[in-house]
């Protein structure tokens, strides 16, 4: 028996965990948690509000008489409920979270602290501009950093997410084309594109035509040239692309696109790989959105909020949406309509001025890193991905083994042939090893894709721990230990969930 100095055993003698007869519905400290609707007494409240004289005479009989159906909890119950729920989540702060294409890097807490300064968090979007000069200066400074890092002359800050940025970019392109009386109907995008690219193009009123991919995972230039023509408004290319590879012919892609009178839209989801080392403006890009929640580390928050500013070339800049910040004699001004310098703006994407809370976090992040630190970000991100690719290629099959990758390493499922184990099984088994799985089955161009993005904020020992875990699983798969995979995860808060049942008879809210 293993004991520490005072004689207390530090390891269990036998596996007796399942023989205790415990009737708890959870696993030790990880208990099942009811919904708020199932907790206690609905008349409670966790806020103490003053009494108010109520007089309905200004409401013309519109008062809500029937029960709303909202439970209330005291503060201690609320804390316990949501802390318990939080413990059922995996997070970057717990372990490497190598979701390819998502850039799950460390979220500095200084960014959170700065976003909560009353001078940023407690200002109204429509209070007089003379009372928010610091906020406008911050937006102007963020714009300066984004323009300098991308080598582009203009930026539209207001898009609220990456997909919203794509929409902003395509609508800007559409407005520029219409302004020259050149309505075009088609957008070209590679088969490997994020699903948002074709969805956005369709929303912007374009037909989407796919561009083929070469055997080495890049845009097929001959196919692109063949499909370019007078009806093509834009070519949308992700660079580095979703296979984690730099488009070597990117300058030629831009040249061909421009020669056809079209604009070159770059999906900047993977900007983290090149920030500080390559400026998209030097590659011929006309428009590119930047996911502040990826490259500039605003937290993902379980699925948003994000922010997707779009940098623009000089040809597109006049058509960027309102609001615009301009400098005047008495300070900075927001132009909120299509007038003055913004006379050709395509309109407005959303109410107000975009994701100010994310601007504060992103600028804090950029200033912390500086030009030297941001360059190091790209270098370490690319180094980490190539290291993972090198280590795992001893047992897995890299989708594009020749040459370096950028910030993420892509594997296919050939290494699982004849094992009866799928990419999904490997992902679920990784959970039992203590990691969030890699991105699976994306990009679509690779069979059973596994896309691994370690990011620059992982220490080497954590990357090694991850690689060791994957290699253990690979050995188990090749040894025929199918049970370890098919039933996985065994050690998560829940076992595999039945998604088919959820979709067949949707139950989307609590009912008594």
């Amino acid at each position: 028996m293993t004991m520490l100095a005072v004689g207390r055993p530090t390891r269990p003698e036998t596996d007796i965990a399942n023989e205790t007869g415990l009737e708890s519905h959870g696993n030790g400290l990880m208990q099942d948690e009811p919904l708020i609707f199932e907790l206690g007494n609905w008349d409670k409240t966790g806020v103490d509000l003053p009494e108010a004289e109520f007089d309905a005479s200004d409401l013309a009989g519109l008062t809500r008489e029937s029960p709303i159906g909202l439970p209330g909890l005291s503060e201690p119950e609320t804390l316990r409920h949501y802390v318990r729920l939080s413990q059922k989540n995996h997070a970057i702060d717990l372990a490497m979270y190598p979701l390819g294409s998502c850039t799950m890097k460390h979220n500095p807490r200084l960014n959170e602290k700065m976003a909560r300064l009353p001078g940023f968090a407690d200002i109204h979007p429509l209070q007089p501009q003379s009372t928010v000069q610091g906020a406008l200066a911050l937006m102007d400074e963020l714009a300066h950093w984004l323009k300098t890092l991308t080598g582009m002359p203009a930026v539209a800050l207001s898009p609220k997410a990456g997909a919203h940025g794509e929409l902003c970019g395509l609508l800007t392109i559409r407005a520029a084309l219409e302004a020259r009386g050149d309505a075009r109907r088609t957008v070209l995008a590679p088969v490997s594109a994020h699903g948002t690219n074709p969805a956005t193009a369709a929303m912007a009123g374009y037909q989407v035509v796919e561009i083929a991919q070469t055997d080495d995972g890049r845009v097929d230039i001959a196919d692109l040239a063949a499909k370019l023509g007078p009806d093509v408004a834009a070519v949308m290319v992700t660079n580095p692309n979703t296979c984690g590879l730099f488009e070597r012919e990117v300058i030629e892609i831009a040249r061909l696109t421009h020669a056809a009178g079209a604009f070159f839209y770059c999906d900047g989801a993977n900007f983290n790989a090149i920030v500080g080392r390559v400026r998209p403006g030097d590659l011929g890009v006309d428009a590119m959105h930047i996911n502040l929640h990826k490259t500039f580390s605003t937290p993902h928050g379980g699925g948003g909020p994000g922010a997707g500013p779009v940098v623009l070339s000089a040809a597109l800049a006049p058509f960027a949406p309102a609001p615009w910040i301009v400098s005047g004699e008495d300070g900075l001004h927001l132009i909120e309509r299509n007038e003055g310098e913004a006379a050709h703006a395509f309109g407005r994407l959303c109410a107000f001025h975009g994701q100010m809370g994310m601007y504060v976090r992103a600028l804090t992040y950029m200033m912390s890193h500086g030009s030297d630190g941001l360059r190091q970000v790209a270098e370490d991100a690319v180094l980490a991905a190539n290291y993972v690719k090198a280590r795992l290629s001893t047992a897995l099959t890299a989708a594009f083994p020749d040459g370096p990758c950028m910030h993420e390493a892509l594997f296919d499922d050939h290494w699982l042939e004849d094992t009866g184990i799928t990419t999904l099984d490997v992902a679920k088994a990784l959970i039992d090893e203590g990691f969030h799985p890699m991105t699976m089955y994306f990009p679509l161009v690779v069979h059973g894709a596994m896309l691994i993005e370690p990011t620059e904020t992982e220490p080497k020992h954590e990357i090694d721990r991850f690689c060791d875990a994957v290699l253990r699983l690979a050995a188990a798969a090749k040894a025929g230990d199918v049970a370890r995979f098919k039933g996985a995860p065994f050690k998560a808060p829940l076992r595999r969930l039945d998604e088919t049942a959820a979709a067949r008879k949707p139950r989307l809210r609590w009912t008594a």
Partner: protein, 448 residues
Amino acid sequence: MRYLPLTAADRAEMLGVIGAPSIDALFADVPASARLAGPVDLPPHQGELEVERAMGRLAARNRPAGAGPFFCGAGAYRHHVPASVDHLIQRSEFLTSYTPYQPEIAQGTLQVLFEFQSQVAALTGLPVANASLYDGSTACAEAVMMAARVTRRSKAVLSGGLHPHYAEACWTLAHTAGVTTQRLPAAIDAEAAVIDAINGDTACVIVQTPNVFGTVTDVSAIAEAAHAAGALLVVVTTEAVSYGLLKSPGEMGADIAVAEGQSIGNPLTFGGPYVGLFAAREALLRQMPGRLCGETVDAEGKRGFVLTLSTREQHIRRDKATSNICTNSGLCALAFTIHMSLLGEAGLRQLAKINHARARSLRDALAAIPGVEILTPRFFNEFAIRLPKSAVGVVNALAADGIIAGVPVSRLEPAAGMDDVLLVCATETTALVDIADFAEALTQELAQ
């Protein structure tokens, strides 16, 4: 650099395993002409102290709402948020997790979304709600597009009481898809005017209550008129606290309800990030945009939650998807859910009553000022007043005295011909002494 864990020795060792001579070799695919030799022209890295100082200087040049009398609403509202809300949303497991693609290790986020959807459904009086959109304005634009898909018609009628920014966001999304937005003239109390504009091409009518001028409206008759013509009724609300006092969109016959959820749990933050609420009738479920969270069971039969009906979405349907929306507004939705759980039905109703009472106090104080005319006939916590001079001038003059008086209509819509109209708002954060100070300053300003 404090956020980068790799040491020089690590880097050398990793390059060795890769078999690359240098970092530069890993960037070999970048065209030589585009490789930057050194850092771009921006300042070098800084410590926490230096960055905090610089950001603090910028923040100090803004006048926070809480620093004195403050009366802005018009789509963004200052409410008190309990301390526990901000503590909980900064839990690492909520803050630093991704969209719940692996449900077995994201049950925290997923159960929160299920609770959020349940709360939004209850508040709006409609059976299905999604897991949130970017904000109220983009939710409104998505509602137009959804109505066009459902009815296969291509015209939306927008009331003159709809927030002008919302109307503009609708136009932006609709016009490229061939859907026209007919916007009726701005008017204080004219939601019902949409009825006359409904015809056989109308996919939906968009009305707002309380509207941008604060007017609350029973939209039941509008619902009947829309349904008689085969059109959908979309009801917009920018002040979610009003759900605690006023009839819900569902009770009044709405097919789709959209709202800005910022008021519950989220600070003003100069306009974003916010959280868009989106709810609809059951029959419209499969045309809804955005993420949906549904209940299911795991392999052992235990209850759990997953993202569902994803065949509507861009990562499956690509150019045939209902929207290009990828994320929701997760952390803002979490703040909403926690704050709403703390309030509960009793707290929300009480909060709404306090807001209304404060607005009545403000109305009474302003109505007593010579030259001020109250324009909004029925209101919740904001209303419009006519001044005997330019509202912008008055707001600027009072701002110089430390009073943020409200939002001039001309800032939102210069062409409305309402240069003398000011939108004012009071919430539970508005002290009675603030109202007295505002009334006194306005009286003096108008006497000049």
